[in-house]
């Protein structure tokens, strides 16, 4: 709903409002269970009950017994007032609100999956579990700007904006969980203390109540902004921008940061000397430099907080007593992450803009990257706890291009486009004043706590780190002939003694690949002929590696990736695939688990037909088009996992496949109607 009211010649009010309810069901990610399960087992017994899947749990039972829902409503709206005065000045003030209310609930019944002999397997839920929670979020943003817009002497065009904004985001959530609900049905999914209880001991089994704010949604910001845009004769463009932002997430000394930027552009195509060159229909040269900031951290990362959910069990009989102590350290020196961007580019149009191209060189240097790091155990933060630091400086640079050709032959109109970007990523420095960080960043922790990335100066950030392999020890003689770990046996992998010190130990781990592609590209095309339109869009990347994390962590021996078929079984049988083992030495992080992550994916393909105007009633319908569309139709890749688009958990944990859910191809059929 958008409305604007002109209340007076120079004054108007307006408002926008969008309301969106949603409802979703969350299923547990059973991809990793399915990957590990023994493939020959039948999921059901003859009587239809769930069959045991050893050590992993029956994923169908997991899915069926999980009832995890969320629903909510979100409203985004704003009101604004705008007044013009002195002909060229406009003052605008707007207040925007983004509010949402969410409910989540989850119920797992008591169930048991049985072994074939009738005994209970390890997959069971002794008492039913119920969780009810709700949360609300509110963000308000108040923006005030004064704009000056005037062209002097017909050629000097000024567009100046000054502004001040304030923003606050707050949230609160509450949740209760309990065990042993009286009945399984949906009608009883309420926290009624009389029906969530343990009949044997006659005690209420509402186990935990939680209430607090959402740590990512509790902050405020103040910004000052200023922008000047000067265009001379439509040919030369100069822009200067300055922002000063302050965020509550940082301590007072580091709260505000300045973000200037500067851009120039030269519309060469409008120059008089270009008028005679007919085949060049447009030519623009541009360059820019600027700083932007990032503060996407939890509001409490800088505080060292007290952990209050501890319990001591003391007394006779044993009773739980409240306890509280220091939680993990906070980092009070956190500050803004800055990215300095430089961009130089050319835009060209040829043959009346039938062929257009953009070419850019970019360089983005990010300083004080905000990332969570593991701390030494003796600090007492607890296992696996991470603390946020401004840890490193990283540069991303390269060339980008975007070419597009359109034209027509008779009744056929076509457009093709190709785009690409090279990426060079390198860590420039690690640590720095007061950052608390030393000389390397360790990350990419697998499920069992082993890290697989190590970032240091000169390498890409999140670079993979492990042993290099060089064949398989075929005989005892070969084994004795080369430095090896005490666990290595004949038929196991040979790890390279990288530092040539005659010993095979932790110092022989090295850089084994980068998760960051060297080149990303896309190709798209669109053709239409007499009302039929056909378009497709390819996307891909190359030069990046994927770490097959799901294969390295080996909890059980029931299923292996099929390359294991060609395993070593005796001298000369394989120099690539070691003898099979259930975890252990051959499952140490090494380049055995590094795969090429390059891929080309058909992102979408659409075939449509627009009915000719002669066939439809103009009075009622102006245009009617039907189409079929497919998304993610096929992928060309050498990666053996479910999808090569792995994504990243954080900048140090990028490109690691933990058992990613396969991407779905979707096919849709649609109708466009214009009235």
């Amino acid at each position: 709903m958008n409305n604007t009211y002109n209340l007076a010649p120079h004054f108007k009010l307006g408002n926008n409002l969008t309301i969106a309810p949603y409802k979703q069901e969350n299923a547990p990610n059973v991809t990793y269970s399915v990957y590990r399960a023994q493939p020959l087992l039948k999921p059901y017994y003859e009587d239809g009950t769930y069959a045991v899947v050893y050590n992993v749990g029956n994923p169908l039972a997991d899915l069926s017994y999980s009832n995890n829902f969320g629903n909510g409503i979100r409203g985004v709206g704003n009101i604004f007032a705008e007044a013009t005065f002195l002909k060229s000045f406009t003052f605008r003030s707007s207040l925007g609100i983004d509010a949402s209310y969410n409910k989540s609930y989850s119920f797992t019944p008591a169930y048991t999956v049985y072994n074939p002999d009738g005994t209970a397997s390890q997959q069971q839920n002794v008492l039913s579990d119920l969780f009810k929670g709700n949360s609300e979020n509110l963000t308000w943003l108040w923006e005030n700007t004064i704009t000056f817009n005037k062209t002097f002497l017909d050629i000097h065009a000024f567009d100046i904006v000054a502004g001040y904004t304030m923003q606050e985001t707050s949230s609160e959530s509450m949740g209760i969980s309990g065990e042993n609900v009286l009945r399984d049905g949906k009608d009883f999914w309420y926290m009624n203390p009389s029906y969530i209880y343990d009949p044997a001991n006659n005690v209420n089994t509402i186990q935990s109540i939680s209430n607090g704010v959402d740590p990512g949604q509790y902050y405020s910001m103040i910004s000052y902004l200023f922008r000047t845009n000067y265009t001379l004769n439509n040919k030369y463009i100069l822009t200067f921008t300055f922002r000063r932002d302050g965020s509550s997430k940082f301590a007072q000394e580091n709260r505000f940061s300045n973000f200037p930027s500067f851009a120039v552009g030269w519309n060469v195509g409008n120059e008089s000397f270009m008028k005679s060159i007919n085949f060049i229909s447009g030519l623009k040269v541009r360059g820019s430099w600027g700083i932007i900031g990032n503060e996407k951290i939890s509001y409490y990362d800088r505080y060292s907080r007290v952990q209050s959910d501890l319990l001591a069990v003391l007394g006779n009989p044993d009773s739980p007593l409240p306890a509280a102590s220091y939680g993990k350290n906070g980092n009070p020196d956190l500050k803004w992450e800055n990215t300095i961007q430089t961009d130089i580019g050319v835009e060209v149009g040829l043959f009346k803009n039938r062929l257009t191209g953009e070419f850019d060189y970019y360089n983005r240097k990010t300083d004080d990257i905000l990332v969570e790091l593991s701390t030494p155990g003796h600090l007492g933060n607890g296992q696996g706890q991470k603390v946020r630091y401004n840890a490193a400086s990283v540069v991303n640079s390269g060339f980008e291009f975007n070419l597009s050709l359109k034209g027509s032959r008779g009744d056929v109109n076509y457009q093709v486009g190709i785009l690409g970007s090279t990426i060079h990523n390198e860590v420039l420095s690690i640590g720095g004043n007061n950052s608390g960080v030393d000389s390397v960043l360790i990350g990419g922790y697998l499920g069992d706590g082993r890290p697989v990335t190590l970032s240091r100066v000169g390498l890409p950030i999140g670079a993979f780190y492990g042993y290099k392999t060089d064949g398989v020890f075929q005989t005892t003689a070969e084994l004795d002939d080369y430095p090896h770990s005490s666990q290595a046996e004949v038929g196991d992998l040979r790890f390279v003694d990288v530092n040539s010190d005659g010993k095979l130990d932790g110092l022989d781990r090295t850089y084994i690949g980068s998760p960051i592609p060297k080149f990303i590209f896309g190709f798209n095309a669109e053709v239409d002929y007499k009302g039929i339109d056909f378009s497709f869009d390819f996307q891909g990347q190359t030069g990046n590696k994927i770490f097959n994390g799901k294969e390295v962590v080996r909890p059980d021996p029931y299923n292996f990736e099929n390359h294991v078929i060609n395993r070593w079984t005796g001298p000369g049988t394989s120099n690539k695939e070691p003898k099979p083992s259930f975890g252990g030495y051959n499952y140490t992080p090494s380049d055995r688990f590094i795969q090429d992550g390059s891929f080309v994916r058909l992102r979408s393909m659409t075939l449509g037909y627009t009915f000719p105007s002669s066939l439809i009633k103009k009075e009622v319908i102006q245009q009617l088009r039907i189409y079929i569309k497919g998304s993610n139709l096929f992928t060309l890749t050498k990666f053996t996992g479910y999808s090569p688009e792995i994504g990243s958990y954080d900048v140090l944990s990028n490109g690691i496949d933990f058992g990613i859910y396969p991407i779905t191809s979707t096919y849709s059929f649609g109708v466009n109607l214009t009235f």
Partner: protein, 493 residues
């Protein structure tokens, strides 16, 4: 619209720009205290002291989660079904574990987290205005627990970073073994002085550290250092305090009936809850399959079974065999675990059985979480006294206490477990070591007893123990990596 009204509406925002900027951008933690504000009162001191106890109930406190100490010793095998945790826990069984082995990091981190919580009390409670006796007691409890945590660290890894204050530097070198032992001794001496005896505690305080617990642990610490004079001194002080006795029935030393009983000097309180107020220690070793009490790790070995003297009832009370009925529950075991495991020559090398010392009445996993692990019990103190007295050339007195343990085990049956009369120091030393094995089997003592008495090479060598390497666990590789050279790894790892 009137111009003045328009202009005044437009100018309103500017009023806000200058005011309230500072406060608007100050977002303090919601519903949580910061460390600067805690502890400041007497009730805070109690909360902080209670927190030091919560570590002993964490899964990672118990040798990193899985009972690797007994598994490394000749008393037990990995357990559970053959495939379960074979790559993570299995290697400990054959001494093929590495610096990245599962559990090392967890144990190290959990112990240091406990030490941090103790340091909060030790450094922050003394300045609080509160009752002096209570204050000293809280600090004493924290010091005992800190000593307990460092005792595990120094026995498992040797010299470790010594952390006695809050916010230590990111890089701390390893102290020597001797320096850590000195800290433990000074902590325990303070605790012994400022704590009360168990009989002075009311029911509400049962389970909190006592003077007797501090002295018992002190005796053990001195024993491990080879200071038999002090080990004798403190063990006898505990014995002569008359605060403790042996349970009438051997099984009650570890059973539900014996919880907070006469023999228990320090135990881990736990409730029958699958979660925070329970303890997963017993669930990890609980009977697997039918009844489903847990995962079945720490399976008593044939070697342990065969080492008992003929008729020793402690064998039956230590091992749950298939077909037994305990507390009315028939033990059938796990379908995926072979009842007997045979080697290539058809010899039986493993029999499916479970640790009876963690048995808790019940038929499901939830009740198994209620078992209270006995960290220090009176029988252990008697045997420490016997060992120290023997080393101090007082065999007659040593036999007195040694035979008390055997008498209880005998349970009135005079035809078994005859009193020991040996007075030759070396022979008696071996007898006492064996008695420790039979009395304290499956309670996490055997591995370190073998190391400190120099018997590890001969007894564990056949199992893969390498002298000069396996006396200590390797420092977790993650810690070595993060320390960037400040921590040196243990020899031959």
């Amino acid at each position: 619209m009137k111009t003045t009204l328009k202009i005044s509406i437009l100018l309103l925002p500017f009023l806000f720009i200058t005011s309230g900027c500072e406060e608007f951008l100050q977002k303090d933690p919601q519903g949580e205290l910061t460390q600067e504000e805690f502890p400041v009162s007497q009730s805070d001191a109690l909360l902080a002291t209670n927190a030091v106890y919560s570590t002993i109930r964490e899964w990672g406190y118990h040798s990193g989660g899985y009972p690797i100490l007994d598994i490394m010793s000749d008393d037990a095998n990995k357990g559970s079904n053959p495939n379960d945790q074979l790559p993570t826990v299995g290697p400990y069984d054959k001494f093929s574990h590495t610096t990245t082995q599962d559990g090392l990091d967890r144990w190290w981190s959990t112990l240091y987290e406990g030490i941090k919580r103790a340091n909060v009390v030790i450094t922050k409670v003394p300045p609080i205005q509160m009752d002096t006796v209570l204050r000293n007691r809280y600090v004493a409890e924290a010091k005992f627990l800190r000593g307990l945590y460092y005792f595990d660290l120094v026995r498992a890894w040797g010299g470790v970073p010594m952390i006695t204050s809050l916010n230590p530097p990111l890089k701390v070198e390893r102290s020597t073994k001797e320096e850590i032992y000195d800290l433990i001794v000074s902590d325990l001496l303070y605790a012994a002085k400022n704590l009360v005896e168990r009989s002075a505690q009311g029911n509400e305080e049962t389970g909190r550290v006592t003077r007797g617990a501090a002295k018992s642990l002190l005796a053990k610490v001195y024993l491990f250092q080879g200071d038999f004079v002090n080990a004798e001194k403190y063990a006898l002080e505990v014995i002569n305090s008359d605060e403790y006795e042996l349970e009438a029935f051997f099984a009650d030393a570890n059973s539900k009936l014996g919880e907070h009983g006469v023999e228990s000097i320090f135990e881990v309180g736990a409730m029958e809850v699958e979660g925070s107020s329970g303890d997963q220690y017993a669930n990890t070793q609980g009977v697997r399959g039918s009844p489903n009490r847990g995962w079945g790790f720490n399976r008593p070995s044939l070697d342990l079974r065969n080492s008992f003297e003929p008729g020793d009832p402690r064998l039956d009370a230590t091992i749950i065999d298939l077909g037994e009925t305990l507390d009315g529950v028939l033990i059938l075991g796990d379908g995926t675990t072979p009842d007997e495991t045979l080697d290539a020559l058809n010899n039986v090398i493993e029999v499916e059985c479970y640790n009876q010392k963690v048995w808790y009445p019940g038929t499901n996993t939830i009740t198994q979480w209620g078992h209270n692990r006995r960290l220090i019990r009176y029988a252990d103190v008697l045997l420490i006294a016997a060992e120290a007295l023997n080393e101090n050339n007082k065999p007659a007195e040593a036999l007195l206490y040694l035979n008390q343990v055997r008498e209880r085990a005998r349970g009135g049956n005079i035809s078994i477990l005859p009193d020991i009369t040996e007075t030759n120091k070396n022979a008696l030393r071996d007898i006492i070591l064996n008695e420790r094995r039979h009395e304290l089997a499956m309670e996490g003592h055997r591995f370190w007893d073998l190391i400190r008495t120099g018997k590890a090479s001969s007894v564990l060598g056949p199992l893969g123990f390498v002298t000069g390497k396996h006396e200590l666990l390797p420092i977790p590789q993650n810690e070595i990596d993060i320390a960037q050279g400040t921590l040196t790894q243990n020899p031959n790892w």
